[in-house]
Every structure is written in C-alpha cells, then in structure tokens.
Amino acid sequence: MKKLCIVFKQPPHGTAHGREGLDLSLLSASFEQEVSLLFTNEGVLTLVKDQDPESIGAKDYIATLGALPLYEIDTVIVCEQSLLELGLTESDLRIGVSVINSELISGHLNDVDEVIVF
C-alpha cells in the first residue's frame, strides 16, 4: 500500500487531464492505495457547483466526485490561495473539502509516497 496524492491543476472540460486524473484516483483507491486529492490553480474549478459538461459534448465526470467517499477517498484538499485568486469560497464547491494554505500542502506532499500531477 502506498500513499498517493493525485493533483488536479488544470481546469475541467478544456482537456482530458481532470477526467483521466479522476480515473486514476478511483482506480488507485480500488487497488487499496491510500489516495488523497489536491486541487490547485484552475483545477479547483473542477469542484464548482452547477456544471453541465454534457452540454458541450464533454463527459460528466464531475458527477463522479460524489462517489469519492464510496472509494474511501476522504482527503480532498483545496489550495486556499488558488480559491482566493479565482474569487471563490468553499460555499461555491459541490463537495466537502479541506481548504488549506501552501505550507500545509507542502507538508502533505512530503508525507505521501508519490505525487501524480494532472
């Protein structure tokens, strides 16, 4: 068992990065790895409420975020600075997350075994 942190730094729908990152997150968890997710930069937009990706021909992988607890992915971190830069608050997000500062995120990145960035 390894501790994996999957980082979402790209915004959703414009590319497949977020979708493929979520695939890997769920699969890693189902292979009994200890998975945490970090949303940073425009990647935090993945978590915004009221999205309608199918209206632009994209897959609604955002709905899958609701399944994270079923996969026992309990650590979902959002970069405080990124939220601020985009003028968002926690109430704009669709799932419960831990909004933490850069220093704490550095600590988390140090604690895990591997970090995979999408």
Binding site: K9, T40, N41, E42, C79, Q81, S102, I105, S106, L109, N110, V112, D113, E114, V115, V117
Partner: protein, 93 residues
C-alpha cells in the same frame, strides 16, 4: 526532500508557478525542455533564487543558451537519474 521536475516554460503552463508555491528549501527544482527558458526571465530567476535549481544540460545546449545561462548548474541524464533517487520522490508538475 522532493525533486520537482518542470518540463514546460512558464509561458506554456502553470507548472513552475505551482511548484514554487509548494517547494521547500530542502527540495531541488530540475528544469528540462522549454522550462530552461525561465532562467532568462528576471522575475522567475528572482523567485528561483531561494531554491536549489539545476537545468538539463542538453536542453540548454540545444536551445543555444549555454553562454547565457553560465551561472546555472547543469546536469546530464545520469545525474537526473541519481537525483531522482537521492530525493524521496519526483513530482512532475
């Protein structure tokens, strides 16, 4: 102790920006590919100053930047392999 790998220039992606937000003083930042171009920009050089930074020699050479970046520590692929093991993990931003 993390080796941060940056492969794209700061004009192309947010890799360097994000890495600098989370890198700590024990870490090393390895610039490869277009990322070596960031060493030409005063603002990025200023932000990189507080970190250990190395650049991939052949990417610097290929871009004709060897003379312009003569203050930068250059590494080859064998060094890159060693660094990836010396540090606890490699994060490719």
């Amino acid at each position: 102790m993390i080796l941060h790998l940056i492969q794209s220039s700061p004009e192309q992606s947010s890799a360097l920006k994000t890495c600098l937000r989370y890198a700590t003083e024990n870490d090393c930042i390895l610039l490869s590919g277009n990322a070596v171009n960031s060493l030409l920009n005063k603002e990025w050089v200023r932000q990189l100053k507080t970190h250990k930074v190395v650049a991939l020699q052949e990417d610097v050479h290929a871009r004709g930047l060897t003379n312009l970046l003569k203050d930068t520590k250059l590494v080859d692929y064998d060094d890159f392999v060693s660094l990836s093991l010396k540090f606890n993990k490699v994060i490719s931003w």
